[in-house]
């Protein structure tokens, strides 16, 4: 475990350096949070239909989404993407480590470090402003456990995106496809309980719900704490499955690898 933990912690420290990115991200998320909140408030004030989710839940859900946005796998690991493109990937292959685990630990750091930088001030502001109401300890703990599951799941998805780069060289296509799916289907844009009932079985089966919707609803209480074990099992099963696919693809990729130049 030593090499993987060392990579995780080095990457974590490196990512904490990016102060400007954190400040920029924080203000962007604050802005989007305000806009989304106003849109939903307008909806709720002008509808007679009973919504499947109370207004306070939706607002808290939105702010949690903004706070934990960086858990989502938006794009492949930028450094690895560059390495694959330029052939510097040789230096990664020269390390006596299981490459998948090595990259997966990078993925964990890339989820946790930026999330930490943004979530703490955003949660603070949202709490002080009264947009988020803090539930009892069990709900908070359940949410924390599901967030940990989301980190594992998000890292598996991001690492898989990185590995597809061996085939496509450019990361744009896959980040549009997978990244946008994750963005939309995790509930960041519209909370998943507000999606049509007919879509719910599909949303429940896909992995993306575990990246946001599950921990957020555990927090607000929309999902009872008793459902945590099932939710965790769903997250971890997907994470393990995606990790296995990623590991297999990577071992295939390195066997047919072509490194051009110098």
């Amino acid at each position: 475990m030593r090499p993987y933990f060392a990579m995780l912690s080095a990457r974590f420290r490196a990512l904490l350096q990016y102060r400007a990115a954190a400040v920029a991200g924080f203000s962007t998320q604050l802005f989007w949070g305000l806009i989304r909140m106003m849109i939903f408030v307008a909806f709720y004030e002008n509808t007679a239909i009973r919504s499947p989710m109370p207004r306070e839940h939706v607002i808290a859900y939105i702010w949690l989404g903004q706070a934990f946005l960086m858990l989502l796998p938006f794009r492949p690991d930028y450094e690895l993407e560059q390495m694959i493109r330029t052939g510097n990937i040789t230096s990664e292959l020269l390390r006596p480590v299981d490459l998948y685990s090595f990259w997966y630990s990078r993925g964990i750091a890339s989820r946790v470090a930026p999330t930490m930088l943004r979530s703490i001030p955003l949660l603070l502001i949202a709490s002080v402003a009264g947009w988020i109401f803090w539930p009892g300890l069990p709900s908070v703990l359940a949410c924390g456990a599901a967030l940990a599951g989301a980190v594992l799941l998000g890292s598996a998805l991001a690492t898989l995106m990185t590995i597809t780069m061996f085939w496509t060289i450019s990361g744009h296509g896959i980040s549009r496809l997978l990244g946008v799916s994750a963005y939309f289907l995790s509930g960041i844009v519209v909370p998943l309980p507000l999606f049509p009932d007919s879509l719910q079985p599909l949303l429940n089966a896909l992995p993306f719900r575990g990246l946001g919707d599950v921990p957020f609803r555990l927090f607000t209480g929309h999902m009872p704490v008793a459902e945590l074990p099932a939710a965790l099992a769903h997250q971890l099963a997907w994470a393990a499955g995606l990790a296995m696919i990623g590991w297999w693809m990577l071992s295939r990729a390195t066997r047919k690898l072509v490194i051009q130049g110098g």
């Binding site: 090499p3 450094e79 020269l94 480590v97 047919k256 690898l257 130049g261 110098g262």
Partner: protein, 327 residues
């Protein structure tokens, strides 16, 4: 028993080609055209422990491909390789643990970490015990004069500094074998000397086996007893540097500094190949005339300020080896 054995190694690459222009691009959508390039064509050699071998050849000859196969990064089409008794591409992790590799054009250090943190990270990646790591690291810092660079992020290092740090990084786990792929490329004279001295010391004092690929003939002259010349995927010659010289040409050069600016010089057994002011370069063949005899004749007949005999420069030798197989 040899440390590295390469037997009949073949590696081909399939490269997608696109015909030029819009029609070429469209045709490529329907059917790809591939071209097969043979990077290595039945290469064989073996290396004993403690050897320092120069592996040279023109760009695209297959040098880096060989090094990558020996490191377990690339899988060859056919042929056998044993590095420390194991097939590298079947045991990548185990093989690279015992290797140090430096690619002159790339760095294995982490761009945004200070040098010392890169070293710490490598310690954990190679699972080197703390005390041993400290000992090796301090030794390398001393040998390569890195003390002032340790807290600098890698991206801020100059090329020469970075290369010294990369060398240290490749040796922190005390590998038995070191592959250096163009380690002096782009370096200034002082840095080149530092790198050469270091490699020499490493090989002579610690017995590290070194494979050195380079385009710098001074690297070869000062470091390598044995030289492998490769071109278009085949090994042209393999042997000591003197043998290579002898195989290509037996000529020597006699360089004469005349006293007089427009003094003339001639001899039936020597041919003038260059003249620069008072300095005349003559070509002769020791088989036809012994150096002593030629010098005696010339000093007797001409007013000479100074003279010396030398081998043709290694660049010319290599150029002739490369040239000899081209039409």
């Amino acid at each position: 028993m040899p440390q590295i054995v390469v037997d009949n190694l073949v590696k081909t690459f399939r490269i997608a080609e696109r015909r030029p222009g819009i029609w070429g691009a469209l045709a490529g959508l329907a059917r790809r055209r591939y071209r097969t390039i043979t990077a290595l064509d039945r290469i064989s050699f073996s290396l004993e422990e403690g050897e320092l071998v120069g592996y040279i050849g023109p760009n695209g000859a297959g040098k880096s491909t060989t090094v990558k196969i020996l490191s377990g990064i690339l899988v060859p089409d056919s042929g056998e390789v044993k590095v420390l008794g194991k097939t590298p591409w079947q045991n990548r992790v185990e093989t690279v643990r015992k290797l140090g590799v430096v690619f002159g054009q790339r760095t294995q250090l982490w761009w945004d970490l200070p040098v010392v943190e890169s070293f710490d990270l490598l310690r954990d990646i190679y699972r080197v015990p703390q005390a041993e790591h400290k000992r090796t690291r301090d030794e390398l810092i001393d040998l390569l004069d890195l003390a002032g660079l340790l807290d600098t992020p890698v991206r801020q290092l100059s090329l020469g500094q970075r290369m010294r740090c990369d060398l240290a990084a490749a040796l922190l786990h005390r590998p038995k074998i070191l592959y250096l792929d163009e380690p002096t490329i782009g370096l200034d004279a002082v840095s080149k000397l530092a790198v050469r001295d270091f490699v020499k010391k490493l090989n002579r004092e610690r017995g590290v086996t070194v494979i050195l690929t380079t385009h710098d003939m001074d690297d070869i002259e000062t470091l390598c007893e044995r030289v492998l010349v490769i071109n278009e995927g085949s090994i042209l010659t393999d042997g000591p540097l003197q043998d290579l010289r002898a195989a290509v040409t037996t000529e020597r050069r006699l360089i004469v500094d005349l006293l007089d600016e427009d003094g003339q010089i001639s001899d039936p057994d020597a041919e003038i190949i260059a003249r620069e002011g008072r300095r005349v370069t003559l070509r002769f063949y020791p088989k036809r005339v012994s150096p002593a005899e030629l010098i005696a004749r010339i000093t007797a007949r001409h007013e000479i300020h100074d003279l010396f005999v030398e081998n043709p420069p290694i660049e010319e030798i290599i150029a002739r080896v490369y040239g000899s197989i081209r039409p």
